[in-house]
Symmetry: C2
Subunit: 348 residues, 2 copies
């Protein structure tokens, strides 16, 4: 089969790789319908972190089950499924706490020795604890819903998780730091799922700001740093916001997030740090902040989110502004790296 592999910084190629196959009785073999490129895939592409030459890429995909191992009971061949970006048994202590991204039998697609999502098929370990079936199957699913379902595999659930960690509830005022797909989908999750009343999106890209507004952002702040903090305070009677979603993960975005939080406020952090940011604890102390961290347990959210996408009440798919055939994955990486695309989907 064919799959995207990382060759070196800036070089992604779609090449022939060994066919995905079942190797454990808990596995499922899934034929990929759509996959996509993640902001985190760009870290190696841009040379920020190391990645082994020849390693497989991609951890977000939806597809159709082709075969299952002998112990799999909840999915069967022909099922249309959403895969979270990590697999999980859904039965260990962390999973039972709703933190499937710390499953003791879990792992991430695309890690060494596993199939990546950006390929024709994927071996899915712990299939029962990982895959969530889309009712009705692929044939009866409106193709316009595919981007929304694909977004559930990571960014939509991650954005929502950020808003959940930030403590957003009905009527909340929330600020979202980061206008990538995760930040934009934090806006959508805060508004559509958690019923926030006011959402301030930090964005200085017109296209992203416009999408953010369409997702329900009530205010957009283009300024950064101290100026951005001052603008948010101006918008909130000088007090700052009770809920901040940190969806970037850099020292600069952290400084903004901490600076705009109201005394007693909460920062929900889903911007995975790819460097090693250190956080001074004086500001959190002085401001009585709550900081909540975590890589989104997508599997925890899927049973709720899949029906919302299917009934049209929640549409995270608009973050995909470019869709390419798998064979053209390299163009997708370049488009995202050059910020010509918010998020690129790969079809077929």
């Amino acid at each position: 089969m064919r799959a995207a592999v990382y060759q070196s910084a800036g070089v992604v190629e779609v090449v022939e790789v060994p066919d995905a196959s079942i190797s454990d009785p808990k596995d499922a073999l899934v034929r990929v319908v759509r996959s996509c490129i993640c902001g985190s895939d760009l870290w190696a592409y841009r040379g920020i972190i190391d990645r082994a030459a020849g390693s497989r890429l991609g951890h977000e995909f939806i597809g159709v089950v082709e075969a299952v191992g002998s112990e799999v009971t909840t999915v069967k061949p022909g099922d249309f499924v959403v895969a979270p970006f990590q697999w999980s048994d859904n039965t260990c202590p962390a999973c039972l706490d709703g933190i499937q991204t710390r499953c003791e039998h879990g792992g991430t697609f695309g890690a060494p020795g596993t199939d990546g999502g950006q390929g024709e098929a994927v071996r899915v370990p712990e299939a029962d604890g990982t895959l969530v079936v889309v009712p009705g199957g692929l044939e009866s699913t409106d193709p316009h819903l595919l981007p929304g379902l694909l977004a559930l595999s990571d960014v939509a659930a991650t954005g929502l998780h950020g808003a959940v960690l930030a403590g957003v509830t009905e009527g909340s005022t929330v600020a979202v730091v980061g206008d990538g797909a995760v930040g934009l989908l934090a806006v959508l999750g805060a508004v559509k799922i958690l019923k926030a009343e006011r959402v301030i999106l930090m964005s200085r890209h017109d296209d992203r700001a416009a999408l953010g507004r369409s997702y329900g952002a009530t205010d957009v702040v283009a300024e950064r740093g101290e100026e951005g903090i001052a603008r948010v305070r101006d918008l909130t009677d000088g007090l700052g916001v009770r809920h901040v979603v940190e969806a970037v993960g850099t020292p600069e975005s952290w400084e903004m997030s901490l600076g705009m939080a109201r005394v007693g406020g909460t920062v929900g952090a889903v911007g995975v740090p790819h460097t090693s940011p250190q956080l001074g604890i004086f500001t959190p102390f002085r401001q009585h902040l709550t900081l909540r961290f975590g890589i989104a347990p997508v599997r925890h959210y899927l049973p709720d989110l899949v029906p919302r996408v299917m009934d049209g009440s929640y549409d995270p798919g608009a973050v995909f502004d470019l869709t390419l055939p798998l064979a053209e994955a390299a163009d997708g990486y370049l488009a995202m790296s050059e910020r010509r695309s918010i998020k690129t989907a790969l079809a077929g």
Copy 2:
């Protein structure tokens, strides 16, 4: 009047200072009955931080109101009162959120230009929003209850706040890092007020461990660092604890606190950092932790805690293992600095 002043590292003297007096219509003048020495007072005493020569000391006291300004309505001369270590108006947005330690008209006793608690009398700004009256007055209060009431002015409420921040509720398992007065009173607060079931106290001093056990600690761990973390994990099926109270504030104690927290756990941080610790955010991310910070809003807790001390159901006073006359304050500093005393009270 006489009051303790800081002269230089290691040198505290009780000297003649200007009489405390009312200078604002919202003030009360309080004659000090008991005050005490705080762990944070030792930072300058030990030369860790700078403090102005001649500056007043102490922020914890109980006393009797001697006079009030024209706008004061809730306390009157003769009332026996507990003072939180910071004054507050109790009406600003932060106060209304229960965070009186960020009151917009607040301040700390003993700061430049204010009276310290370690003296004969104190001018209390914002008296209505600050002082809490002990029902019945000083004459009818059992002298055995005075240490407990004095503890409420800081350490008892601070320990409880740590447990509250850590999310402790009925049946919780909690670890307390720090066996100073605050850590010990976090044990008591977790057990007596919040109904924790299991409390692991990190302590390697026999006297403190014994007091911790008397306060309800079910386990004492003397090891530190990686060994301490391993011991706590051994005690919790390898999973770590859901609730950690960080009552020290050093890089070492933070590392232990983060290391012993269960995936998805919460660290309540009341150990005020006197250096500038930086926190790596990888561990909180990886472990899906919630970190909650803040200098305890003692005033928020006092209306609940004063009656508990008065009816004998809650006795935080045992942390005072040494009581000296005010004139011997210097001996108290030395005893605490040399760890011969957990906490020293100054009488009269």
